[in-house]
Amino acid sequence: MDDREQTYLRLIRENRGQLRKICRVYGDDAADREDLRQEILLQLWRSLPSFRGDADAGTWLYRVALNTALSRRRDRETREEARLHREDDAIPDAPSRPDREHRERERLERLYAAIDRLEDADRALVLMYLDEKSYSEMAEVLGITENYVGVRLHRIRKRLSTWLSEEET
């Protein structure tokens, strides 16, 4: 196995959770998420030779994944492909699991539903915020200033909190 292959597999292994969440947030249904995952994996492989280490590997992976997801959605919206329905099936159902786990799953469903209401660009910020990325990392991924990350995030969190409160009541 050569260096490129080893680096690629390590990146995928270390960031599989983030990749899944990005696919969940930007994919419409299970099949669409799988397609997006395949597309991101392909783009990561093709872009790896151009990774020069000027950013942290995790930041770089986030950029590739987000750029691929956003570009794919733009292409589809431009082609005016009708999105008739969404199947919220990313989080596996587990009826026999203990109550606590069931409640966690419900909370996640609510969170994903609230994130789905955001614009594509804002979803990226929320994803990174929930993954506890620093403002500087978010700024590096998106290519904006840290100050603006703070301003933007403040508004988004406020909006999400309102929606989540409505859902819970």
């Binding site: 093709r46 872009s47 950029r63 431009t78 969170l111 660009a121 929930l130």
Partner: protein, 204 residues
């Protein structure tokens, strides 16, 4: 850090968020994944190579046929027309190939805003290219074909029909390109600009 916009804060959801999606893929075979990704990447490269090869082969056929006519045709008008078609074909291939150098793989790892700006520039270039299709594509080829047909023709019905067909095809190509700008590229440009504004400016 907690931001209260209602009774619930986003932070309260963080544990649930971080607790899911991190379990290893039970069915992920790394060797298989690698083989699959490499195969798809190679298939993608093959498709691009095939497209480029077809484009060059088509242009080569046109150049060989009209090049021969430019050198050997008895009518000087047909010779000029054939030479114009040869030059036009070379121009078309050159413009198409230079417009396609997009560096997509390198851009994928750049910050989102930078990538959006690069895409916006690319779409602007495509719009300029298609809006000027009359001057670098339709015009030279149609003019060359018309001169050639008139040059070798006898001025009767056959020539008139050929002229009409060349003009009709030219207008159709020009119209299709204008339509592609209107229906596809302009909406794409608007969407890119909107998203860039959303990320960079004080939108929202």
């Amino acid at each position: 850090m907690a931001e209260r916009g209602g009774d619930v804060t986003l932070e309260e959801y963080r544990d649930a968020w971080q607790g899911h999606g991190t379990d290893p893929d039970a069915d992920l075979d790394e060797e298989e994944l690698l083989a699959e990704v490499k195969e798809r990447s190679e298939a993608f490269d093959r498709t691009i190579r095939r497209r480029d090869w077809l484009e060059i082969a088509a242009a080569a056929l046109v150049v060989i046929f009209f090049g021969y006519e430019a050198l050997t045709s008895a009518a000087w008008l047909a010779r000029i027309g054939a030479a114009v078609v040869v030059a036009g074909s070379v121009l078309v291939v050159w413009r198409l190939r230079s417009a396609r150098r997009d560096g997509r793989d390198e851009l994928a790892g750049r910050p989102v805003a930078e990538r959006l700006r690069a895409e916006l520039e690319k779409v602007d270039a495509q719009i300029r290219l298609l809006e000027s299709v009359l001057w670098w594509y339709v015009g030279p080829l149609a003019a060359g074909c018309l001169l050639f047909v008139v040059g070798i023709g006898d001025g009767h019905v056959g020539t008139l029909i050929s002229v009409a067909v060349i003009l009709a095809v030219s207008v159709l190509v020009w119209w299709l390109n204008r339509r592609a700008v209107r229906r596809s590229l302009r909406p794409r440009r608007r969407e890119l600009a909107r998203m860039l504004d959303r990320i960079e400016a004080n939108g929202g």
